[in-house]
Symmetry: C2
Subunit: 284 residues, 2 copies
């Protein structure tokens, strides 16, 4: 069963009448297999899953792609419909607000910010982005009151921001990160991939291949980190790398001395499209 | 009965074992009659009142008076002890964290910000101040889970920031503003008044007298607002006025066209001490 609601009042009403605990998948729509993997995980764990489709203006900068961000509600609903067939007896409530005022009425002023985490890497390049993310996610959590929410690990820094927010504000919600879904050759799925020309799309493999190469150089051994860092130093001479960095997967610190798991994070700029990806490697 | 706790673990333990709903008065200590009026109002409404004394570093700018802010815990406790005598059977739990890490452990990163409200008037002069206030108040609310919290209306903008935060985050807490308490001649009570020399203290009456004069000029009539504005324009030629403004008491807007109540807000700079005050006037 699938139910698509467009008003906050409708979602509040639906939620109030829900007896079971609910899982929640927040998205900006234009669904691909990455999003569907979150939905399916939620459906494995909950009989009732709330799924939001909302292109949140607060997380886009003034010169970013808010207006051209792909909006494909009908197609999204068919994909959800298709997924739910494997979960008989389950229910998905889609919340697709018809305008931003449904989420942020003019009287809403609160902004949530995760200090430190919000202003490095992706946050440094996109000032205010993570504040916009934290603010909309809080608002959706508040409306939907899920027991658990699912986020793709492609946006690893976003996942950490949300986890930190939930911890600092003591929200009673579990946060589950789900593995990156990739095309056969390795390109991480993203709604923004459709901005790429066929030529750009094959060039984009550079991102996956570079991350793989760095992972190979590290080869699970901390002693290889200096070698990996030299390799990175050389690579980022190409100014199309917005960043390419190693961070501790738990603390997000640059200090990897006591790390047991490292995340290699990168953004490669392909024309006007920013391709974001990351890869984790356990180290000894 | 009065109980003074210094650790977050102790306050959590005490709160968990509380059966009654609790009222809450957050302060920075160095108590005066203004604070005591909040406590007494809370005691009129609740059998159990939590009262925090915490000089919150996050709401002070780098060049502000965090280090010299008066800390007088013993005297504060005697004042509370004295008040509670008029409320037999009541209990006050004082939370006086012995250091800032009790409130903000190093792992805490979240900052709350009330857009718009936080960056005008007092927030313009003290960047980050209201974010620090909102952040500590959320944290204290989260630890203490009060049904109602009491704030002095001397810090009128702070009161609005807290009300907006509570509304936007749907916190189940009532916010009660309490009237400004003044010395006989009119100076609003403030812990910072003790920074004033006797001469400065008598000069400080200028603030109260000016607000009173503006209130008289308005005389409850909207048609007198232009006259009041001209009077203000003339007054603020003295650069010691950090600001002196009229705002709608509900919306905090400068547009007073449909106002029924107006707040006159001012800060006068007396040497290194900023004297803050406000006065409300109903208008027709």
């Amino acid at each position: 069963m699938i139910n698509c609601l467009k008003k906050t009042s409708e979602i509040l009403h639906a939620r109030e009448n829900e007896i079971s605990p609910v899982g929640f998948v927040p998205t900006m729509g234009n669904l691909h297999e990455g999003h569907i993997s979150l939905l399916e995980q939620a459906l494995r764990e909950f009989k009732v899953v709330y799924f939001s489709i909302f292109v949140n203006p607060k997380q886009f900068g003034p010169s970013e792609d808010f207006h051209r961000y792909p909006r494909t509600l009908e197609n999204d609903l068919s994909l959800i419909e298709k997924s739910i067939k494997s979960f008989p007896g389950s229910k998905v409530v889609v919340f697709a607000p018809e305008n931003a005022e449904e989420i942020f009425p003019p009287s809403h002023h609160e902004v949530l910010s995760v200090c430190g985490l919000s202003t490095i890497l992706e946050g440094k390049i996109r000032p205010g982005h993570f504040d916009g993310v934290a603010t909309v996610v809080y608002r959706l959590f508040d409306l939907i009151k899920p027991s658990k929410a699912y986020f793709g690990l492609k946006d690893f820094q976003q996942y950490l921001v949300i986890k930190q927010m939930v911890k600092d504000l003591s929200l009673p919600i579990k946060i589950q990160g789900m593995p990156i879904i990739r095309e056969t050759q390795g390109l991480a799925l993203s709604s923004r991939n459709q901005y790429l020309s066929p030529d750009q799309k094959s060039l984009a493999l550079l991102l996956f291949n570079t991350l793989t190469k760095i992972k190979e150089i590290i080869g699970h051994k901390k002693m290889n980190l200096p070698k990996a860092k030299l390799f990175i130093e050389d690579i980022i001479k190409d100014p199309n790398w917005n960043y390419l960095e190693l961070r501790d997967s738990e603390t997000f610190s640059e200090d990897l001395t006591s790390s047991t798991n490292i995340t290699i994070l990168a953004v490669y700029q392909m024309g006007t499209t920013r391709l974001l990806d990351n890869m984790q490697v356990e180290v000894q």
